[in-house]
């Protein structure tokens, strides 16, 4: 019996969400999704836009990939193809969502849709789909892991965006401008997030 199975559904759902978002933050603990984070985190509102899109896509693709893994890859004995399969599924899913959003709401498309092509190749999303296989999750738990992972990325990029907005008002030494100072900020924040890691072990 794993400890997870003992808990009620809701508390395990919550616990997984919190641990994925804070203790195991995909951006700050695993340093994934760094390229789009460095590129887009100049302003808080674009950070929030990209972050929201990542939450949506990680949650959905985690669930989708869980199903693909559990009901296609494992029965066929194709476990080793999970990496390439997940990439294809994620790419197709983001394309599809972009189309739907563009058709359904232009407002939403301008806020989120323009970020979707960026996300297609975001490693954080692939990372979450792969990491969830390390634990014996159920479908709902996998979904909450994806949701939490996406939320953690959202939180991190929004905080970084807020700090960078403030830093833009200050004069920096030339060598530190742009990605340099951003990586330093991320490093310091990652140190701060280590504090969470003792809280939950999942």
């Amino acid at each position: 019996m794993t400890p997870l199975a003992d808990m009620s559904l809701l508390s395990s759902f919550l616990l997984i969400f919190v641990s994925a978002a804070f203790t195991d933050n995909i951006l700050l603990a695993r340093f994934l999704g760094m390229c789009s984070c460095l590129g887009v985190s100049k302003k808080v509102d674009t950070s929030i836009g990209l972050g929201t899109a990542v939450i949506f896509v990680t949650a959905c693709t985690a669930a989708l990939n869980y199903l693909v893994y559990r009901y296609l890859l494992v029965p066929l004995g194709l476990d080793y193809l999970r990496l390439i399969t997940f990439i294809v599924v994620i790419a197709a899913f983001t394309q599809f969502v972009e189309m739907v959003i563009e058709r359904v709401s232009e407002k939403l498309y301008n806020a989120l849709g323009i970020f979707l092509p960026l996300i297609t190749v975001n490693c954080a999303i692939l990372g979450i789909s792969l990491f969830m296989l390390n634990k014996p999750y159920s479908f709902l738990q996998a979904f909450s892991f994806g949701l939490g992972g996406g939320f953690g990325w959202f939180l991190a990029i929004t905080l970084i965006g807020a700090i960078r907005e403030r830093i833009n008002e200050a004069t920096l030494p030339r060598g530190l401008e742009g990605p340099g100072i951003t990586l330093i900020i991320i490093g310091i924040m990652a140190l701060g997030f280590i504090g969470f890691s003792g809280m939950i072990k999942i």
Binding site: L72, L76, G77, L78, L81, I84, T85, V88, V89, A92, Q95, F96, M99, V100, E102, R103, E106, K107, N110, I114
Partner: protein
């Protein structure tokens, strides 16, 4: 072993095909906007287009050509149109190219507006006379070491009506990994000759289109261009004229002055200042001498800014703006026509305004 290889290959293939088919189907079903109506200039023209592509390409498919130098990638900012209705929110790509006044007036970049529903737009009236032409190179003649004259015979449509001073957009072909682009060049020939046009093209270091013209375009080759564009032409007044040009900025002035001569406009004294670096950058000297002889109202003043002090050059020396300043300390009664680089034009406008010329008397074509 063989079986597992077959299974894995089959799975990947099936997976990829399934998803691709799904996406194609979705694109057909979801991104199908049906037929949209585009109303132009309050009913002057109405088009029915298949929705889904950009306004720029939809218009071009129906022979309404909006000037565009980058070919619809949102990097030149030329294809501005007013979209009264149906344009949706402004795309982040457009924002850098639009002033707050333009945004308030619903000005958009046609290449970034997607036709999703019926549109009500306004474009400059003159664009209705713009079309796309196929032409053949009749000759390519070097004028200086870095300027050529291109003479094109129109094939389809066979004739072009324009005003002296307007420009066309020449389409370069793809070569050595450089993409096809469109670049504006002023017409240097006369409007009376509708079957041909001439262009004066300077080789811009690493310029995509001018390099193509210089090194890849051959005699008798076919080219495409669209036009005529632009508001740069002789105003219908009686004011005396100052023309200022540099390099290939010669083209529209060369056309305007010969057009004045052809139309018998003799009551407007005209001085043409042409700026160049050294003697090897000058061209059309004999032609202008001939015009000076035939037309007493015309004076040609070439000026060299980097000619060695000990050379045999007896004409004006120094920056073209200083030369203009010396000749016309009072320019308040004149009209000016400028064509050249943005730097030269801005400097010339400053000098002319300083010497009393009202802003609305200054016409220019920057490139």
């Amino acid at each position: 072993m063989l079986l597992s290889v077959l299974i894995s290959v089959g799975f990947l293939l099936g997976c990829g095909l399934f998803l691709a088919a799904l996406l194609l189907l979705a694109e057909k079903k979801i991104l199908n906007y049906g037929i949209c109506r585009i109303q132009i200039n309050a009913g002057r023209k109405e088009l029915e287009v298949a929705g889904g592509s950009s306004l720029l390409t939809s218009l071009a498919e129906h022979n309404v050509f909006i000037p565009s130098a980058c070919g619809g990638r949102g990097t030149c900012g030329y294809c501005k149109v007013t979209v009264h209705e149906g344009g949706g929110a402004i795309h982040p790509v457009e924002e850098p190219y639009l002033t707050p006044e333009e945004i308030a007036a619903n000005v958009r970049l046609a290449c970034q507006v997607k036709v999703r529903r019926d549109l009500d737009i306004a474009i400059p009236e003159e664009l209705f006379s713009v079309s796309r032409y196929r032409a053949r190179v009749e000759h390519k003649r070097p004028l200086t070491h870095d300027i050529v004259e291109l003479r094109l015979k129109l094939l389809d449509p066979p004739a072009l009506t324009f005003e002296a001073g307007q420009y066309v957009q020449l389409e370069s072909a793809e070569y050595k990994g450089r993409e096809s682009v469109m670049r504006g060049y002023s017409i240097s020939s006369l409007p009376t000759e509708t079957s041909h046009i001439e262009l004066i093209i300077r080789l811009v270091p690493d310029g995509i289109c001018s390099t193509w013209v210089f090194h890849h375009l051959k005699n008798h080759q076919e080219v495409n261009f669209s036009g005529p564009y632009g508001f740069f032409h002789l105003a219908d007044t009686d004011a005396p004229i100052i023309c200022i040009a540099g390099g290939s900025g010669m083209a529209p002035i060369w056309s305007i002055i010969r057009d004045m001569q052809a139309r018998g406009i003799t009551h407007r004294p005209t001085t043409y200042f042409f700026g160049a670096l050294t003697q090897r950058d000058l061209f059309f000297l004999d032609e202008f001498k001939q015009i000076e002889k035939d037309a007493p109202w015309f004076k040609f003043v070439p000026a060299l800014s980097q000619e060695p002090a000990d050379s045999d050059w007896t004409g004006e020396r120094g920056l073209i703006t200083d030369v203009v300043n010396r000749h016309f300390p009072d320019a308040s009664q004149h009209e000016a026509y400028l064509c050249g680089s943005p730097g030269m034009i801005d400097a010339a406008i400053a000098v002319l305004q300083n010497n009393g010329m009202p802003e609305h008397h200054i016409f220019y074509d920057k490139f």
